[in-house]
Symmetry: C2
Subunit: 116 residues, 2 copies
């Protein structure tokens, strides 16, 4: 055991601690924006491994941490998997329309640049 805190709980910022600059910074990265788009499209919790990114797993872990610590997503362990979900209610309460307009902007830009 030694370390063995095995806290199996993940620290999330409270709703009122979510900062706009942090959210914008989190969404400004193409990788993270892609994750958020996938989560919004799925509309249910997805495990980290279901969200395939063109980077190594360590980097993926890093991006999920940034998203969680900025308050954009919530994460919870389910067995060995870590499930990810958007914090839609919190974000909509704090910054109405923001998430939707960013998602719409991302979709529109994807269409414009070649529907990828």
């Amino acid at each position: 055991m030694a370390t063995a805190p095995s806290t199996r709980e993940l620290a999330h910022p409270a709703r009122e601690d979510i900062r706009l600059e942090g959210v914008l910074h989190a969404l400004a990265d193409p990788m993270r924006l892609s994750v958020v788009r996938d989560l919004a499209a799925a509309d249910e919790e997805l495990s980290c491994s279901q969200l395939v990114l063109p980077v190594t797993k360590s980097t993926t872990t890093h991006h999920f941490r940034v998203l969680r610590e900025s308050g954009v997503i919530q994460q919870v362990y389910r067995g060995t998997a870590k499930m990810n979900g958007l914090r839609r209610e919190d974000l909509d309460a704090l910054f109405p329309e923001l998430l939707d307009s960013v998602l719409a902007a991302a979709s529109g830009q994807a269409d414009r640049l070649g529907g990828s």
Copy 2:
């Protein structure tokens, strides 16, 4: 002559070259977000020196350049002053609601944190 191009013209990205990640990155910085809020509130062109930031002039120049190159603001010389204006039309055309929701979010957060 040597250097002396004195182009007095500033390079701006065309509307279709404005990228969402670039805009989000530009807005994610507190200094730059503050500038954008002031420009939106003024609703007219402001000179660089009217927008006082708690940093040196060189740093201010840097932030204005980031905002211009990301497509958030337009700049034009008028005599010795350089006037700054939001590219509202371009941004609204590309990313409807985005600018407004970010501005509203910034206002809301400012109120929540102590109306500064």
